[in-house]
Amino acid sequence: MPQIKLEGLSRYYRTGAETIKALHNISLTIESGEFVAIVGPSGSGKSTLMNIIGCMDRSTAGEYQINGDAVDALSSDRLAQIRNSTIGFVFQSFHLLSRLTALRNTELPLIYSGTPKRERQKRASEALEKVGLKGRSHHLPTQLSGGQQQRVAIARAMVTQPKLLLADEPTGALDTHTGEEIMSLLRELNKGGVTVILITHEAEVAAYARRRLEFRDGQLITDSALSSQQ
């Protein structure tokens, strides 16, 4: 059973009289453990697809199955639970809560899974250690560099040990060198068995992946395997 399966999936936005076909008739499957890069020009529907795969948005037509479950049939509570335990998100703009320390930001998903405090802190510390921020647990986001903030976000995404990591332009706000560090982190995670799907505009970043999906005007135009060069 594929981890992700889309069949004839479409997502339309209706703005006034116009209908924007952000995604149109997409069919694809992604197996567990893959490293997929989604590329395409701005407005081609990459983020829209990512949001649907991440169970944050619903399709207009077609079907989406995650681990064999038809997402359309699931309740909003069940979707929240899937986002909490099965999926980790990394965003271009980090999305850390500015009032909370790195540790408490990392803990957030565990609060919603009802993990006891002691256990939560232990796992959050471990996650921060894995991304190389052991000494920064008690720093606020404003006291961290962009690269460090994105690492906290990755630690937060991984703290529940999800099987799927979704990253929407994770290096978009970082310089080349820091971007490379973040990408090596993601590659490490992928090697550990986590499926990684990432959106990018940069060819060097896409090169980390082993499969490339190219979108244009809401349609999947090429789906190609890459020889992993690094």
């Binding site: 949001n51 944050m56 948005d57 909490n84 965003f91 999305h95 009032r99 957030l108 609060i111 919603y112």
Partner: protein, 410 residues
């Protein structure tokens, strides 16, 4: 999600905007403060009534002249002189339930003695009056039967009068001039303290009724045989109603009032009289109650307003929390917890201020304060309720957001 995490999350959010949080709770602070003060004043008034009745006797009945409405024109409280000595004697003879009765006439007088000058009130009374009204002799003796009968010029002083004229000296046997007529002081009464409205109950003097008529009441009033009021002690507190009915029947017969016509006198028992006197305090309590209600309403709306702002400001945070796995119900609880903490802390501050205000009000003469710890519970419950009621809508709105749209907003 555990309640401890909810509270910690809410506290962090509120601490981010301390001034705003405090200002928001102002209405709740005032509302809960009023609840506390109101309870203390209400309880004080109640205690005052009970104490008053105890001090004056719960089986005291007073008969006053009718309100004197003749042809629709009110002639004022006691202008109609419908009560006479004959009525007093009649009741004394016939009534079964009456233990003691005394008529009285009072008048404002000038007392001069020992080079001092004092304006007070003197009442001409009959035997039994002092006992009916729970007056106790502290120094000297009561007016004797002979002095009552012969209308002797003797006077019993209230504690304040004695204090003001004689200071700490023993006044027994001294001569005082009441409206220039010499009287011998034979007794001083034990102090009763303050009555309602801060009136000094001990600023009184008593002489035999007959003396009053002949010497002090003035010719017209003195000779006419009219009296101002009757003081009656019912044989027991339980038969108060029967006593009142009996007195009414006798007086109606003596006054030849026809069946269906109105009484030309008024019968009051002490409980009724004291209750009328507490009207001021009742008004005050009512005022505080409305202040409390309005403040709580305004405070609640303030909380709702600030929570709506908060939810809008933190849309992205809501989206993020949802992306990380927060259920709708958990988001709702988070914001509801915030509004309840907000209103509860307002309530707590209000309780403190309410007690403070009660202490301050204690300084005012006619207000008695009894602190009511039970009101704390009420204030806490009320403020919590306000937080829940007015926080629900903003919290519900937060929970209805969809994660993508919330995350995209800035």
């Amino acid at each position: 999600m555990k309640s401890r995490d909810l509270i910690a999350t809410a506290a962090t959010a509120l601490k981010a905007n301390p001034l705003r949080s405090i200002l928001t709770t102002l209405g709740i602070v005032i509302g809960c403060g009023s609840v506390i003060a109101m309870a203390a004043i209400g309880a004080g008034a109640e205690a005052r009534i009970t104490e008053m009745i105890d001090r004056m006797g719960s089986n005291l009945i007073m008969v006053l002249p009718g309100s004197g409405i003749s042809r629709g024109a009110s002639m004022g409280g006691e202008s109609k002189q419908s009560l006479t000595q004959r009525d007093v004697d009649g009741i004394r003879e016939e009534a079964q339930y009456v233990a003691q009765i005394s008529g009285s006439i009072s008048s404002s007088v000038q007392i001069i003695a020992a080079g001092k000058n004092w304006r007070t009130r003197t009442s001409g009374v009959e035997k039994g009056y002092l006992a009916i009204n729970k007056w106790v002799i502290e120094l000297g003796r009561e007016i004797s039967e002979e002095e009552y009968a012969l209308g002797r010029k003797v006077v019993v002083l209230g504690a304040s009068v004695s204090k003001n004229i004689f200071d700490d000296q023993d006044p027994i046997g001294s001569t005082v001039r009441i409206n220039r007529i010499p009287f011998t002081v034979i007794g001083v009464l034990e102090a009763k303290g303050q009555g309602f409205g801060g009136r000094d109950l001990d600023d009184e003097t008593f002489v035999p009724l007959k003396t009053m008529r002949q010497r002090l009441a003035g010719k017209k009033r003195g000779r006419s045989g009219h009296i101002q009021r009757m003081h009656i002690e019912a044989s027991s507190a339980e038969t108060l109603t029967e006593t009142e009915r009996e007195v009414e029947q006798i007086l109606r017969r003596l006054h030849e009032i026809k069946e269906g016509d109105k009484d030309d006198f008024r019968i009051r028992n002490l409980a009724q009289m004291v209750t009328t006197r507490t009207d001021t305090i009742r008004t005050m309590t009512l005022l505080l109650a409305s202040v409390a209600a309005i403040s709580l309403l305004v405070g609640g709306i303030g909380i709702m307003n600030i929570m709506l702002v908060t939810v809008t400001e933190r849309t992205r945070e809501i989206g993020l929390r949802m992306a990380l796995g927060a259920k709708r119900s958990q988001i709702r609880w988070q914001f509801l917890t915030e509004s309840v903490i907000l209103s509860l802390s307002g309530g707590t501050i209000g309780v403190g201020l309410g007690f403070g205000a009660s202490y301050f009000l204690q300084g005012i003469d006619f207000i008695e304060i009894i602190h009511q710890p039970r009101a704390i519970g009420l204030a806490v419950l009320v403020s919590m309720g306000v937080g829940i009621v007015f926080g629900f809508y903003p919290a519900h709105r937060a929970s209805l957001m969809t994660p993508v749209e919330a995350l995209r907003s800035d």
